[in-house]
């Protein structure tokens, strides 16, 4: 695929380098979607449903329309008459999702009417004058209750509230259980949280009827966003131009405002003005369809006297909210790491997606692996306790060993590389685990509730989104590409183009560092731009910790194509065969030692056609579109498939104390040992790990979307949905380990999600260790002071 051997001695890869994006951000010159202005732009405000489930009897917008500055009002009937439903990734006939409710509203906060006015404040004034008559219907809020056929139907045109249900069996599960002396049975509850970026979703859309072209600037991080816009609005895909040169103010998966963008685009087309919609926090929290997984796990693990696990049965029920969209696929990605870091030989996995009267879910950091890993790791702890060994020891006895890679897990994915026991040892050493145990035991003598938690985590990276086909056999997509285009200009300067927006990952830094390495040029001299969707190459967007892996290697591919052309030009100029020449870092060299330097090759290629090899196109430009490594294969009938190409690993050691007077959890120590293969930018990698841990602390202790019995979201501001601050996130000690991936040119793996996947497990395991002397344990997240106070009194 890519001819050159992997780069060995790195000049720029892995070295300290200031991320190029940072300068504009600290100067206040980032360009976020809300900062994009256009003449005559109008603004949207939303009228939301106050009911969890209701029939909409009538909508009266007359007084609102009379407000000075209101251009128009869109109701569900109008919108639905002129757009197509938003995409469902499951095969769920009868389930239709539009930006605005139609005859029925299916959750409290669902958008019913949109006001378009000259100012957002005026649109909000008008929104208060819209009179909607509702006839409340019975709502269903509990996912298990929703599975009961007698419960209210969220979508009566679909046979049931169960949107998806399949049991996968990989290996002789029943035999393995029959032959195991011990079986753990456990139930875990992962409550609804999300990534909750500080920037809400923002979009400005402008329809130009003279060109039949829709321009969109949005805070988007979403695969197939232009395609879904075009499909919903029924316009050709080449009539949609999504501008990816906006900075996205955090996403971690959730910036998928397809309904926001369709609504703004529809309004722009209808009223012939640019239309901007910047969600306010309330719209975002209760009606943005951006919550995360909401799961019940039933686990059985069959293990022996030593705590070695032979087989696992996992059933998960996921509460998708009212409109499933892409979110049920978050039970599909975990298929690619269903056994975590462990040598579990057979697995039965049942995935159940259920609709309820809540706002929808969307992709959240880890795409479902955070709750799955939570269930696996809490189970490991229980087995350790049952067998009477330390939590570290039970993991060691079950770890896949370094010599076993590539290691194929029962569900079909081959893990690329790793050294889990060594990374775990590094974490223990940095934490000084023996001293920690002494600290714990001494504190317990004083009557304090202290505990130590261990967790490990596989972090799949690369974004082979084959779970689309796994969960819907009508979907035969196997192509999940990423492209990079590079160009050298007449002055010899390099520019590169990528077809995605970034939300803090540092893609400009990634691409320029890789190109600097390939061409031997200081990365700071290389310009990277974000193309729009018409100009750019195919992209699956920066999801699934994939960009270092896939964009990184696409960049290498483009660079090597261009270098090959430069060698061809130079060889022709020297009168020798191209394959006899070598690129020595600054020039192309012939066997006899003669050289054509960079500047001269550039001159020939761009300005001296008479010196080019006959038939060769002028200029120095190259494209490379990479299919995700190891991808391109549909799932087998039993669901086995190679999911992501690369598997990073981390081990966490956490020591906490529960305040017996308040139930509050405080950190005594937090250590993470981390292996994501070859590190490209150490500061960015560290930032990703630290940020993921902080996010995981939120999921473990603070963050939860709570609905009351009538279906009202009662944590819908930052005053009650609690995001960790500097007070809640401790100092974290981090130690690196590098096991290069054989799947990538530089040995790199993914790094964006692991902290969030493993921290909730580590923290709750620590809590359970602290609760052990009290004869108590918890099996859910987040664990709040109220949960703990009773247990430690």
């Amino acid at each position: 695929m890519i001819a050159d051997a992997p780069v060995k001695a790195h000049r720029y890869i892995g070295k300290k380098r200031r991320p190029v994006e940072s300068r504009r951000f600290v100067l206040g010159r980032g360009r976020f979607a809300a900062d994009v202005t256009m003449p005559h732009a109008h603004h949207i405000a939303i009228v939301s449903s106050p009911h969890a489930h209701a029939r909409i009897v009538s909508v009266d917008v007359t007084p609102a329309l009379a407000v000075d500055g209101v251009l128009g009002i869109i109701d569900g009937a109008t919108l639905r008459g002129e757009t197509n439903p938003l995409r469902q990734y499951l095969d769920v006939p009868g389930v239709e999702w539009f930006p605005l409710a139609g005859d029925v509203t299916r959750y409290a906060g669902e958008w019913v009417v949109a006001i378009v006015a000259t100012e957002r404040a005026i649109a909000e004034d008008a929104a208060e004058l819209v009179n909607i008559v509702y006839e409340p219907l019975p709502a269903v809020l509990d996912p298990e209750a929703a599975m009961d056929e007698r419960s209210p139907a969220v979508h009566p045109s679909h046979p049931s509230n169960v949107m998806y249900r399949r049991t996968f069996t990989w290996g002789p599960v029943d035999d393995d259980f029959a032959q195991s002396p011990h079986i753990l049975k456990a139930r875990y509850r992962w409550h609804r949280n999300s990534t909750v970026p500080i920037e809400t979703f923002s979009v400005i859309a402008s329809w130009d009827p003279s060109m039949a072209l829709l321009d969109v600037w949005a805070s988007i991080q979403m695969p197939q966003f232009p395609e879904q816009l075009a499909a919903a609005l029924d316009i050709p895909l080449n009539g949609v131009r999504v501008h990816f040169d906006v900075d996205v103010g955090g996403s971690y998966g959730v910036k998928r405002g397809i309904k926001h963008a369709v609504l703004a685009a529809f309004a722009s087309r209808r009223f012939c003005v640019p239309v901007k919609f910047v969600e306010d926090r309330l719209e975002n929290m209760r009606g943005g369809d951006m919550h995360g997984p909401d799961r019940i796990f039933d686990i059985e693990m069959a293990y022996d006297d030593r705590g070695v696990v032979r087989s696992m049965r996992m059933r998960t029920i996921d509460d998708e909210g009212a409109y499933p969209g892409r979110s049920p696929l978050q039970m599909g990605k975990p298929v690619g790491s269903i056994v975590g870091a462990y040598r579990i030989a057979s697995v039965q996995y049942e995935a159940i997606a259920v609709t309820t009267n809540k706002t929808g879910q969307v992709a959240v950091r880890g795409f479902g692996q955070a709750p799955t890993n939570f269930a696996i790791e809490l189970s490991m702890d229980r087995i350790a306790r049952a067998v009477g060994i330390a939590p570290v020891e039970v993991r060691r006895r079950n770890f896949i060993q370094a010599h076993e890679f590539p290691y194929t897990i029962p569900s079909g994915t081959a893990y690329d590389s790793g050294n889990y026991p060594t990374v775990m040892t590094k974490a223990e050493d940095v934490a000084d685990i023996e001293a920690l145990y002494r600290w714990r035991d001494a504190a317990r003598q004083e009557g304090r509730a202290v505990g130590i938690g261990i967790a490990s985590c596989i972090e799949p990276g690369g974004g082979n989104a084959i779970f689309e086909a796994l969960f819907n056999s009508k979907n035969t997509t196997t192509t999940f590409p990423e492209g990079c285009q590079i160009k050298i200009d007449r002055t010899g300067a390099i520019s590169a183009q990528i077809g995605v927006a970034s939300s803090g990952q540092g893609h400009e830094t990634l691409v320029s560092t890789v190109l600097g390495e390939e061409f031997g040029i200081p990365p700071d001299e290389i310009r990277v731009i974000h193309a729009d969707s018409l100009a750019g190459l195919p992209s699956q967007s920066p999801v699934a910790s994939r960009m270092a892996i896939v964009l990184g290697d696409a960049t290498v591919g483009a660079a090597r194509r261009l270098k090959a052309k430069m060698v061809q030009i130079a060889a022709h100029d020297l009168g020798v065969q191209a394959d006899a020449c070598v690129w020595n870092g600054t020039a192309v060299q012939a066997p006899d030692g003669r050289e054509v330097p960079w500047a001269e090759i550039v001159r020939i290629a761009l300005m001296q056609y008479h010196r080019l090899p006959p038939g060769l196109d002028p200029g120095l430009q190259a494209q490379f579109v990479l299919e995700v490594q190891g991808g391109g294969v549909l799932p087998a009938a039993d669901g086995t498939v190679q999911m992501y190409p690369c598997q990073s690993f981390s081990a966490h050691v956490v020591a906490i104390e529960i305040d017996r007077g308040t139930g509050q959890v405080a950190f005594h120590k937090y250590v993470v040992a981390h292996d994501c293969g070859t590190v490209i930018n150490p500061d960015i990698v560290r930032g990703m790990v630290m940020g993921g841990i902080a996010h995981g602390i939120g999921a473990a202790l603070y963050e939860r979307f709570v609905y009351d019995e009538s279906g009202q979201l009662i944590t819908q501001t930052f005053a009650d949905y609690l995001m960790p601050s500097t007070h809640e996130v401790p100092h974290v000690e981090m130690v690196e380990h590098e096991t290069p991936s054989p799947m990538t040119t530089m040995g790199q793996k993914g790094v964006g999600e692991g902290g969030y996947m493993s921290t909730p497990a580590a923290v709750v395991c620590a809590i359970n260790d602290a609760l052990a002397p009290f004869g108590a344990s918890v099996s859910h997240a987040p664990v709040t002071p109220v949960d703990l106070l009773e247990l430690v009194r």
Partner: protein
């Protein structure tokens, strides 16, 4: 809607504008003055992304009205760097220590950090964590932010290109 004429100094420049009574300071800065470096994350005074300096003290511009700052001196993130092109020690430190990722909370964080260092030139890590507790960052986990402030404290007085 009643409107009022206000005169104030923003980043060293005196400006006069007529604003509706209900316009927030944040909207005024972003929409009327065109300083989009001030960001809105929650609009209820919790996240701190909209933090600006009001007569030298950090405040939430989302829960102040523009008419309240008539006659005041405001500094936004754009005013931290001389000329808007060179980096102040705090800005330079955030770049050096990677105290940011997506850049959205960054303006408020920089204002809060700058205010902190004016009060306490050599803060401990604990003091930094205490003082920055009103600014939420979802990307970094705060550690590199704390390190940025420490770095700035050690390099104050230097202005980087």
């Amino acid at each position: 809607m009643n409107t009022y004429s206000i005169t104030l100094t923003v980043n060293g420049k005196t400006i006069t504008r007529t604003v509706p009574a209900r316009r927030s300071l944040a909207d005024f800065l972003r929409d009327d003055v065109g300083l989009t470096g001030t960001h809105l994350g929650c609009e209820h005074g919790v996240c701190g992304a909209c933090t600006v300096m009001l007569d030298g003290d950090p405040v939430r511009s989302c829960i102040l009205y523009a008419v309240q700052v008539d006659g005041a001196t405001i500094t936004t993130v754009e005013g931290l760097s001389p000329g808007g092109t060179t980096l102040s020690p705090v800005q330079d430190a955030f770049v050096e220590c990677h105290g940011l990722q997506c850049g959205f909370c960054t303006p408020g964080m920089l204002i809060a950090a700058t205010a902190l260092l004016r009060e306490n030139a050599q803060p401990t890590a604990e003091e930094i964590r205490t003082e920055l507790g009103g600014n939420i960052c979802r990307c970094t986990g705060y550690q590199q932010i704390v390190e940025s402030v420490q770095y700035a404290a050690a390099h104050t007085g230097e202005v980087k290109q």
